[in-house]
Amino acid sequence: MAAQAGFQQDFPSTVDIPLAGVPLQRGTGTVDQRSVNILYETYVNPITGGKTFYAVKRPGLANSTQPPAGAATGRGLYAWGATGKIYSVFNNKIYSGTTDLTVTLAASSGRCWFAESGAGSSAQILIVSDGTDSYHITTSDVATQIDETDDAQYPTPNLGPVVFYDDYIFQAKSNGEIWNTEPDAFTSWVGTNFKSAQMYGDDLEAIARLKDMVVAFGKASTEFFFNNGTTNSPLLRIPANAMQLGMATKNSLAQAGDTLVWVAEAPGVGDGGRQVWAIEASRNGFRISTPAIERFLNAETTSMSSCTAWMETVAGHLIYVLNLSSANRTFVYDFTSKSWTEWSAITAIKFPGIAATSLNGTVYVQDATNGRIYTLLPTTYQDSGSNFTVTLQTDKYDFGTPMAKFQHGFWLIGDNTTSTINVSEADDDYTTFNTARTIDMTATRKYLGMGGMFFQRAYQITYTQNAALRLEKMVLGIDVGNG
């Protein structure tokens, strides 16, 4: 509760309220403080130490390509620097740009995983894994299916995630075995070439690479391995790094460079509830979720495995985007501002992008269902040509006194932009937001008078225009009544 004291009764006062706030939902509804389709930015003046906060409208989605030329389920997206092309999986097809690579992913569904071999490898390839088979794509866009018919020792079924590390390709099974190919022989799997993550008894959920380590995420623990150069499996466990912190689902795993983020099952840090954790470079892992976010995670129950997640740096913000299936909402953690917001589609449902990649400074996002790949651009203010709504819903304010408050003025401080913004208030604990008033965002003075009386008030600001939006704060003119 961000109540502010300091009012002198019977003297008109103004109070600044920055339009920056973390999600404070008491449950899994839409009451309490929340921000939708927003990114926060904080600037510190190094001379004065003063801080400026901005709530900035999120980038929009512009149509880029539609590889399957129609609706199809998106399963993965990857920009391969070796070819400068975007590779995608829709339904059971792999596309290079909009070209169908004419292989069919047999009997698999869900997320596909990508890894590229090193440029120094004998034949640089892009590996696509669906957990059943692998597909090796050459720089000439020739795709070859790899399964047990090619090598009887091919680890199938596997978890899906594929890691390229020091000329090895690693894939893992749920029983904890982390398999590797022969070095620089990406189709050569040997029955003894595996290392087991077995410090704890849990099943393995995913593997990932972090700097010079392979990270094995179990359902209740995490182990780290490095390349020890040993025969068969080159991996050697780093026992001291192991954590009793597992992964709720591999579909929550996202990576951007040396940052890994996932939804953890956390039996070792409390009651086993879900949390979002991150590991940046070689630092210790740390929890980035808040209790409000974790309530949503736990409410997903078994639907958690249907989530999608991705990370990219967008408009100067490194973000982790987590789409929750049951809640049908998207929560976004911004590593830049260290804050959570929500993103939504043009209707109040989860953001449509389920995977993302970046190429030449542009972020590409794959749609969950319509077969499209979008660009996610800070200069695009719509999603696929339709306006989406920015919502800033504040905490309840009583301004440090239970007495009646009379709001004689409301000023919105922000950049001039197109058309009008809507402002409404709820004085009854979010039960009813009154009919919104509009502020002309082209006007220098963005003001509303006659705010009425309240005891405790929350504000909701919404903007649904094809235009940029950057707001700094709202300023309230308040008189305190006599009782």
Binding site: R437, M453, D479, G481
Partner: protein, 314 residues
């Protein structure tokens, strides 16, 4: 640009309440008052209007009513549940004699007489038979619901009215009007003390003194002497009560120039209830006082003031 040409703007009860709440800063722009606010505001508005009774007798609130003749009493109750007195009525006379037991009455004019109206017929004894009109009058015939108890001769007076007079707050003038002679004679308004000093109030003759006791919903008018016949009515001019604002869409029973004063008075009342900050409350109260004084001055009759000696012998 042309002016509207209309001069009929009036605020509804809801308009008054919501405007007052906005003046207090209670109601947000563009937001309607809640059900509770409207209920509380309606109550406040009505009691404020009732309190305006005490502000004197604005010219526009002076009403005339007639107290109809009634035999063998000195008292009539005035008000919606009172005796025979009305502001709007028809006064005519029989153009054909009516026998005792008759119901069909032939009158000079049926103008202003409607079905179910109260109907008073002067009998030959000078008494008045009061009944109601049965059915719509037609031609020159009015049908009484109850037959005459005695004969009534041609030219005997007939009175009819639909609605009883409102309760007078204060009677400021009275006169006895005789329909036979079409003459009007002033009637003295005396005090309770003076009335109670009268020796034999059963005397009949043209009433020339009245005394009025206002009550809660009705008042009592005492007159002296008693009506001798049905030829005359006592006309009274009085300050009428302001009408209630019962429904949300009701307009005020006040001239338009009063609407601002009413709004500010209501704001002052509601401001107290909603704990409006003292500084603003003071401004609202000053404004309310100013507007009320201004409109009160405007509503008073502009005429000469006469000073005379009291010759009533007291």
């Amino acid at each position: 640009m042309a002016s509207s040409g209309s001069v009929d703007y009036q605020s509804s009860r809801t308009n008054f309440i919501e405007t007052a709440l906005k003046l207090c800063g209670v109601l947000r722009e563009g937001v309607s008052a809640s059900a509770n606010q409207l209920t509380d505001g309606a109550h406040a508005l009505n009691i404020i209007m009732k309190s305006f009774h005490s502000h004197g007798m604005p010219l526009w609130a002076i009403r005339e009513s007639a107290v109809f003749p009634i035999e063998d009493v000195n008292t009539v109750t005035l008000g919606p549940s009172g005796g025979h007195a009305a502001t709007t009525y028809a006064a005519t006379y029989l153009t054909a004699a009516a026998a005792s037991g008759a119901t069909a009455l032939t009158v000079n004019s049926i103008t202003g007489i409607s079905a179910s109206d109260q109907l008073g017929v002067e009998l030959n004894s000078g008494d008045i038979d009061w009944t109601t009109v049965s059915g719509a009058p037609s031609g020159s015939t009015v049908t009484a619901a109850v037959a005459l108890t005695a004969a009534a001769a041609i030219n005997n007076r007939v009175y009819a009215y639909t609605t009883k007079t409102v309760k007078p707050l204060k009677i400021i003038q009275a006169a006895l009007y005789n329909y036979d002679t079409t003459t009007q004679v002033p009637v003295n308004i005396i005090s309770r003390d003076e009335y109670e000093r009268l020796s034999d109030i059963t005397v009949e003759g043209p009433p020339n003194q009245i005394y009025y006791i206002p009550g809660v919903l009705t008042g009592i008018l005492k007159f002296y002497p008693r009506f001798p016949d049905g030829s005359s009515v006592i006309k009274i001019w009085f300050q009428r009560p302001f009408e209630d604002m019962d429904a949300a869409g009701d307009t005020a029973d006040f001239p338009q120039e009063w609407e601002n004063a009413i709004t500010w008075e209501l704001a002052a009342h509601l401001g107290m209830a909603y704990n409006v900050p003292v500084r603003k409350m003071n401004m609202i109260m000053q404004k309310a006082q100013f507007e009320l004084a201004k409109v009160n001055d405007f509503g008073m009759e502009e005429g000469s003031v006469y000073f005379t000696s009291n010759s009533s012998g007291r």
